[in-house]
């Protein structure tokens, strides 16, 4: 039914599954466990945690991060295009220009809507 070479893959999957299953079971069975109340505390060395571990961060950080991501990816996209532009056809050139126009519209939008102001 399937590709006969797939049986090696099947063996690989089975073996890795067995190993993944066996390791926790072995460590569960063979180790000596001492259950004390201290084991349940967040830090075993005796500190009681004070305050919440999560603090609220202003949403601007996320916004800046997302904008950074977009323009970073744009550079990644732009670099190979710049280096191979003498090999490319006209269509590749204009599709990149179109991409720029859309990006610039987005940039003007977020600039005017105040996403870049702190």
């Amino acid at each position: 039914m399937f590709d006969p070479e797939l049986k090696y893959f099947l063996i690989f999957v089975l073996v890795s599954f067995c190993i993944a299953l066996l390791l926790p079971i072995i460590s569960f069975l063979l180790t000596r466990r001492v259950t004390t109340r201290q084991k349940l505390s967040p830090y075993e060395c005796g500190f009681e945690p004070f305050g919440n571990a999560r603090i609220q961060v202003t949403v601007h950080f996320y916004l800046i991060a997302i904008l950074f991501l977009v323009f970073d990816l744009e550079v990644v996209f732009l670099f190979p295009w710049c280096f191979t532009i003498h090999l490319l056809q006209e269509k590749a050139f204009w599709s990149m220009i179109y991409f720029f126009i859309v990006l610039i519209v987005g940039f003007i939008y977020e600039w005017r809507r105040g996403a870049l102001e702190w």
Binding site: M1, F2, D3, K91, I101, V102, V105, I108, Y109, R112, R113, G114
Partner: protein, 510 residues
């Protein structure tokens, strides 16, 4: 191979028109408004989008005779045929109608950000490209364009917990369904070496000779096709993939729910019909049992869950699941008439649903006891017994048509679908489905019972009176009633659309 010819860009002129206008509007509004948020901006953008849609409608009419029908354009990504033109025009009209009926809702619950209209416009571009796409990559990309817009629209009430829940659920499950589709697409490509419907269809239709060879592994093919079927089934909320729909319908605001239920469902059905008509048709004898299983599960789950629900939007969501079961039953025979009956079903279903939503948009109650001023529970409809009697009757007719009772349109479309299915000798299944549809009448009649026969303590009328909504309700109700007399014309058109969905008129390659 098909080559990209820039002269063919006229076929996507409506989409380009909307896109360029949206970009300019975003620039203009952002420059004009700055950080300012006001509902007047939203309403201005809303009217602009209406104008863009009308312009795109006219442009679609102008491009009808630009190319011969059917023809494959733009590097094989776009097909220009009767079905795509019909679906484009219908999408523009349905979106305009959804926008018009939501006007009273915007008056009561004003939206502040004009971006939602831009996002809705982008999703409409995705819808029109989806119905005319003739390549699995194009199918996937336009599906993603629609989906991302819809995830955002579902969360448009960003201060509501329900909206956030619905958007996250929809996003997670939708991206999973997309991933499954891409996996199926990769398998399909590895086997056939093409993502085009045209070449894929040619390979599948000529696969008698090579079916047992090493290259054409039938089981592999079967699994890849089933995986690809998952995404459109998820989008029309057929039963094993239906978990998102009730929460999304409930969490998103009413205009967005109407958009989901009327436009998106119509578009996804057309896309599914094209997919099944081209790629699945030849080996339908193997997919038949799977589709029947999905359909029966949809009908059973939709009916049972809707009977148990108390909230209006959730009942409508489960009834939507029930209807997608009937749509899938229509796809099972996969000949011209059956595909045509599914197209007819989706159109009439969209119109009837529009009446229900146009009525619900007006149901804004001035009452302290309801925690929202909207109608939420089915029993809240009892407040409407002192409303205008005529429009209560119209609403009831729309509900009975959805339930499929004989004198109205809903009966005839269901009859067409079930008749084509019956010709395959599934008599036991047909008997079961017809007897089972009695249950589905129950939850529609419960609405009507609450309006006409419930004791209500407060005498409340519809606060919002909107003549345009009344006019739309009246027109579509008249359409529902006279449907048996005009059905012969609509069925003939839909038969031609069914022929077009199979792409049999294209020149064959051997």
């Amino acid at each position: 191979m098909f080559y990209f010819n820039p002269q063919h860009l006229t076929v996507v002129a409506p989409e380009l028109f909307i896109l360029v206008n949206l970009l300019f509007s975003v620039l203009y509004f952002a420059a004009y408004a700055g950080r300012h948020m006001h509902s007047s901006l939203f309403m201005t953008m809303y009217y602009y989008l209406g104008l863009y849609l009308i312009g795109a409608f006219v442009l679609t009419l102008l491009t009808v005779n630009q190319f011969p029908q059917p023809s494959i354009l733009l590097g094989g990504y776009i097909i220009h045929d009767y079905l795509s033109i019909y679906a484009k025009l219908t999408v523009f009209i349905l979106t305009l109608l959804v926008g018009l009926i939501s006007r009273p809702y915007f008056k009561v619950y004003p939206f502040k950000a004009f971006e939602y209209i831009v996002i809705a416009g982008l999703s409409i571009i995705g819808c029109t490209l989806l119905v005319s796409s003739f390549d699995l990559m194009g199918f996937f990309l336009t599906m993603e364009l629609i989906s991302f817009c819809l995830y955002t629209l579902a969360a448009s009430r960003f201060n509501s917990v329900y909206a956030a829940e619905s958007a996250i659920k929809y996003f997670v499950q939708g991206s999973f369904a997309s991933g499954v589709f891409v996996f199926g697409l990769a398998m399909f490509f590895s086997m056939t070496g093409t993502t085009s419907y045209y070449f894929g269809q040619a390979i599948i239709n000529n696969s008698y000779a090579i079916v047992h060879t090493y290259i054409f592994d039938f089981m592999y093919f079967f699994i890849s096709m089933l995986l690809m079927l998952t995404l459109p089934l998820f989008k029309i909320a057929a039963a094993p993939f239906h978990y998102w729909i009730a929460d999304v319908y409930e969490g998103s605001p009413l205009p967005v729910t109407a958009f989901f239920s009327v436009v998106v469902k119509f578009v996804m059905t057309i896309a599914l019909v094209r997919l099944v008509g081209t790629l699945f048709k030849f080996w339908m004898c193997y997919f038949r049992d799977v589709l029947i299983f999905y359909a029966l599960l949809s009908i059973v789950i939709g009916t049972f869950a809707a009977c148990a629900e108390q909230r209006i939007k959730r009942v409508l969501a489960y009834s939507s699941i029930n209807h997608s079961g009937y749509l899938l039953l229509g796809l099972v025979p996969a000949h011209y008439g059956a595909l045509g009956s599914v197209i007819e079903y989706s159109f009439v279903y969209a119109l009837t649903n529009l009446v229900v939503f146009a009525f619900l948009m007006l149901c804004v109650v001035e009452s302290k006891t309801l925690f929202d001023r909207q109608m939420i529970f089915v029993s809240d409809l009892s407040l409407l017994s002192h409303n205008n009697y005529f429009y209560n009757i119209c609403f009831s007719i729309a509900l009975l048509s959805l339930a499929g009772l004989p004198p109205f349109a809903g009966f005839f479309i269901k009859f067409n679908v079930l008749y084509n299915f019956w010709l395959l000798d599934h008599t036991m299944l047909i008997t079961f489905i017809v007897l089972y549809s009695v249950f589905s009448v129950y939850y529609y009649v419960r609405f009507i019972k609450c309006i006409f026969f419930s004791m209500n303590l407060k005498e409340v009328e519809l606060v919002v009176r909107d003549k345009l909504n009344y006019f739309i309700i009246f027109c579509i109700t008249v359409f529902t009633i006279v449907y048996p007399f005009i059905q012969i014309f609509i069925s003939t058109i839909c038969y031609k659309l069914g022929i077009s969905a199979t792409a049999d008129a294209l020149p064959r390659i051997k």
